[in-house]
């Protein structure tokens, strides 16, 4: 079974000249893949605790200082950003893809400006942006300094 004119990967990660939804879709995929790979690593890394305190503590230290640099919190911050985005956008998708908070079906008329991209859907996106900034700011500050509000 061959399908012609199938762009595949390239088209997913090519959100240029499309709307915000396309960008959010590409980011959702990308962050999903990142978190998935992180889980594989995380399961392996936490299983090191079975080897006793010496191994565990040295793993923790080497995760804090990968490549001899204090990179640990930086990597953790990137994972946090991915998780926060994926979670918030996931909530938005659960709402929108099930047809909630969208306008009623209507007849498309020239110039075909979709109503679904206005109103409550847009409000959800703005809300997502605000939550994203607030949560990830607190999270990153916590990762680097241990400060909690």
């Amino acid at each position: 079974m061959t399908i012609e004119n199938k762009k595949g990967w390239i088209s997913w990660f090519n959100p240029f000249k499309y709307g915000t939804d396309r960008w959010m879709y590409a980011l959702h995929r990308l962050t999903g893949i990142i978190i998935g790979i992180y889980l594989l690593f995380h399961v392996f890394e936490t299983s090191e605790i079975l080897k006793g305190p010496v191994t565990w503590n040295s793993v923790m230290v080497s995760l804090d200082y990968p490549f001899g640099v204090h990179f640990g919190p930086l990597i953790l911050s990137l994972v946090l950003l991915a998780v926060v985005y994926h979670a918030l956008n996931g909530i938005r998708l659960t709402i929108v893809e099930n047809g909630l908070m969208l306008p009623k079906p209507y007849r498309p008329e020239y110039p075909y400006n979709p109503k679904s991209l206005k109103g409550l859907n847009n409000f959800l996106k703005i809300l997502l942006g605000i939550f994203m900034i607030v949560i990830s700011a607190f999270g990153i500050i916590f990762i680097f300094t241990g400060w909690l509000p």
């Binding site: 893949i33 889980l39 399961v43 605790i49 503590n57 200082y65 659960t94 241990g146």
Partner: protein, 133 residues
């Protein structure tokens, strides 16, 4: 199972991941029983690092792992997350590589990897619950 049912499961597991995942984050922030709640706060410099505290210190982590409630939360989170992630991978891959035989191959190979990850994680949780090594 029909694809729509799997997608419904994907939504549900996503929401459950949110619930259990927030417990997981609460654990490493609020509940850590250390005076200084700084992650990665290790004393010492050079090649010998001495762990002086922080939430990921061995005894702290072991104490958390040996609690039944946290153990079951970890196990539930692992189950739900493995499903969500590998179903996501399956969707991505089967969109890219189409065809009936390819799709079956993708499904079953990902199922095997998912089971390995699940068993590997459960092994850690169960062994730590029963006292560690």
């Amino acid at each position: 199972m029909r694809e729509s049912q799997i997608m419904f499961l994907q939504y549900m597991t996503g929401l459950l991941v949110l619930v259990f995942g927030s417990f997981h984050f609460l654990l490493i922030s609020f509940l850590a029983p250390t005076s200084d709640k700084v992650l990665y706060s290790y004393g010492g410099t050079g090649y010998t690092h001495v762990l002086v505290g922080g939430t990921l210190y061995y005894t702290v982590v072991k104490a958390v792992y040996s609690t039944l409630i946290w153990g079951s939360i970890f196990e539930l989170l692992l189950t739900v997350l493995v499903f969500h992630i590998f179903n996501g991978f399956r969707i991505i891959l089967s969109e890219q590589f189409q065809g009936e035989r390819t799709e079956k191959f993708i499904t079953y190979s990902l199922l095997v990897i998912a089971l390995i990850i699940f068993i590997w994680g459960s092994r850690t949780i169960v062994l730590m619950l029963s006292g560690g090594v």
